[in-house]
């Protein structure tokens, strides 16, 4: 009988708290979104499962010495996992569309307004009782507007580690919701005539230009914004491996095996931050709301900038491509293509939208560098 009592004392049932059950529910919701709805399954699945593991009473996964504890401390606290993912993204990115039409970099820059406007919004939220975001918290929340998961996790791990779980979940959820959030904003800000503008075909880009590009980006970062070199440097390393054509093996590893392995552990480690004590707070609600605002403002700023470019170029730029200035590669570009096709069945904007899309990745990395330099 004593043995049975001891066993009972070790079961999950005897130790569940309401918060833990609720967080397991959140984990199950993430699993549902990933499996049944196909929302960013590569990340939401491990994050959801991590959330379940992190809330098991008596399991010790997230306590010092546990698997999730190690995954978090080795990979996220040090910033290594998001940077390795960034290298893989660099190896996956083709800058051809951007090099062919470099003016689209301005769209990627404009869309970062979402980040900085949200910084203001997060501080303003302090007026509501119950919220107390410091400037570094606000910066880490604002970066959700960059719509770039690794950047958001990297910055949050540096500036506001205790908000990391909520920020990562918000960032990836909104990236998955791009096809729902962006089109209404895009349609609101453009006329059907503007949406059906056809753009000239892009020129061919030589291999030499593609090789020089990452080197040039790193060079500029070294000169002007060293704080962004971890992100930009890894990104450009991946891109150089891809474009140089001499290290196909490394490039393939960075694009596939390495990024996959890191994604598993990154997801689990982020999920481990979804423990009841850290997630079930009023701040989380604020972060989710601010993230959506950041995203919407970024999209709107990109579209407005593209409208300006359209006017200045005499109607050669379709304003829709501005929406791709928030990163979320390649989802945002696909959404632009889809909305463009709705307005004009012959209008394929995908390649034109890839320019601002990859510019958005650079833009949000630069914005993260600025925030780190000022507040870090």
């Amino acid at each position: 009988m004593e043995g049975l009592m001891a066993f009972w004392a070790e079961t999950g049932i005897a130790h569940f708290e309401a918060g833990q059950l609720l967080m397991m529910g959140v984990g199950c919701l993430l699993l549902y979104l990933a499996i049944a709805r196909g929302f960013e399954p590569l990340l939401l699945l491990p994050i959801g499962f991590g959330a379940i593991l992190a809330n098991i009473p008596n399991a010790g996964f997230t306590e010092e010495g546990g698997l999730l504890w190690y995954a978090y401390h080795v990979g996220i606290e040090t910033g290594i996992f998001p940077l390795l993912i960034f290298m893989g993204v660099g190896a996956l990115t083709d800058f051809g569309a951007l090099i062919a039409n470099p003016k689209t970099l301005l769209l990627g820059a404009a869309a970062q307004f979402g980040i900085f406007a949200t910084l203001l919004g997060a501080i303003a939220l302090n007026l509501v009782p119950g919220f107390e975001f410091s400037m570094t918290d606000a910066a880490a929340i604002a970066i959700i507007g960059g719509a770039d998961g690794p950047t958001a996790i990297f910055l949050a791990s540096k500036l506001a580690p205790d908000l990391l779980g909520a920020i990562a979940v918000a960032a990836y959820s909104y990236m998955a919701l791009v096809p729902l959030i962006q089109p209404p904003i895009m349609k609101l800000l453009t006329t059907p005539a503007e949406r059906s503008i056809k753009m000239e075909q892009l020129r061919e880009v030589s291999k030499r230009e593609k090789i020089i590009f990452p080197l040039m980006v790193v060079g500029l970062t070294i000169l002007f914004l060293p704080a962004a070199t971890p992100l930009v440097g890894m990104f450009c390393l991946g891109n150089l491996m891809r474009e140089s054509g001499v290290v196909d093996r490394l490039s393939k590893t960075a694009q596939n095996e390495l990024i996959n392995i890191v994604t598993i552990f990154l997801g689990l480690a982020v999920g481990s931050k979804l423990s009841a004590g850290e997630f079930l707070r009023i701040e989380t609600l604020g972060i989710l709301v601010l993230g959506a605002v950041a995203f919407s403002i970024g999209t709107a700023a990109g579209v407005l900038m593209a409208k300006l470019m359209c006017k200045l170029s005499g109607g050669k730029v379709n304003p829709l491509i501005g929406a791709a200035g928030v990163s979320a590669v390649p989802m945002a570009a696909r959404v632009v293509n889809k909305v463009g096709l709705e307005a004009n069945h012959q209008n394929f904007l995908l390649m034109h939208a890839m320019g601002p899309n990859v510019a958005g990745v650079l833009g949000s990395a630069v914005a993260a560098g600025v925030l780190l330099a000022v507040l870090g």
């Binding site: 820059a109 970062q112 910084l119 040039m216 500029l220 833009g363 630069v366 600025v370 000022v374």
Partner: protein
């Protein structure tokens, strides 16, 4: 209250400076790309002339000749 308004002013400063820096950085990059593009000649269009003639030539066969060949084949097979 005052601290929040001070923070708001700070945040506004970061916003203006941040957007300015992002724009400057990416504008410099635009100039850089333009310079590189000047020094890199456009990729040569891979030689495509002097291949096609053959299929066109077959189409240009005299229809009478084609008819004659066809009928000859029919007769041969019959």
């Amino acid at each position: 209250m005052t601290s929040i308004s001070e923070q708001l002013v700070d945040a506004l400063g970061i916003m203006i400076m941040g957007m300015g820096l992002v724009f400057i950085f990416l504008s410099v990059l635009i100039v850089g790309i333009a310079i590189v593009a000047k020094f890199c000649p456009a990729p040569e269009v891979v030689a495509k002339p002097d291949v096609p003639p053959s299929p066109i030539a077959t189409n240009q066969l005299d229809p009478k000749l084609v008819a004659a060949i066809t009928s000859a084949i029919h007769q041969y097979r019959a």
